[in-house]
Amino acid sequence: MCKEKVDFKKFYEKYKELVFNLALNYTANKEDAEEIAQDVFVTVFKKLESFRYESKIETWIYRITINKSLDYLRSKKRLKNKFLSNLLFFNNKDGIDEGVNFNHPGVEFENKESVQIIYKCLDKLPNNYKTVIVLLKIEGEPQKKVAEIMNISEKAVESLFFRAKLKLKDLLENKKDI
């Protein structure tokens, strides 16, 4: 048991920044990222023995973190909508002002406002669009690695990113109108 703990500690030290920052880049909230990171490492601890090394361990961790982050955001949004509909007796389907509770410590003060607006729009994108933008633009991962993480071809990543950018641009323009 002690040996397991030491190994897990090493494992944690190696991947803590990757997991925490990826979760932070999805949620843009420090507390949420902590919660997701905690959940990711508990899952990794439970499933590490059954990991079959068919993919790289780092890719596996990326996938777990992405799935946990998206699940977390989905459940948070569902809770918020439920609360709103209970409170106001109507469903806010467009979700104009709901979304991220912005608390990203990695964003510089002068960029905070514009990044906050981008995050609000990112929150309305489909999951694969959001993932491709987070991995390519925020995490700065190469296209090949993103393709590996998302389990799609590099060409597919390219076209997905193109469509994601168009959608984000559209949302940003509409946001200005509001």
Partner: protein, 81 residues
């Protein structure tokens, strides 16, 4: 548009808080405790079920053995009564 996304590139990497490791280890041990609790609840339920079954079969046996006793008893007893 490109300038908007360039802002995202400037996002800095953050070191997670030191307390996070302890929180993870706590929740791992909590889950282990929950497993133990479930295991002991299942064991107790199993013991109660086994006891109920054995008690019931014991009663059945008692009844059938008594029955057998009366059936096997000599007819003379009944005559004298």
């Amino acid at each position: 548009m490109e300038t908007s996304l360039e802002v995202l590139n400037k996002t800095q990497r953050i070191t997670p808080p030191d307390a996070l490791y302890n929180k993870i280890m706590e929740s791992i041990s909590d889950r282990a405790d929950i497993k133990n609790i479930y295991a002991s609840v299942i064991c107790i339920a199993l013991l109660i079920t086994i006891n109920l079954f054995s008690f019931r079969s014991y009663n059945d046996n008692e009844f059938s053995s008594n029955k057998k006793y009366y059936l096997d008893s000599p007819i003379n007893y009944l005559v004298y009564e």
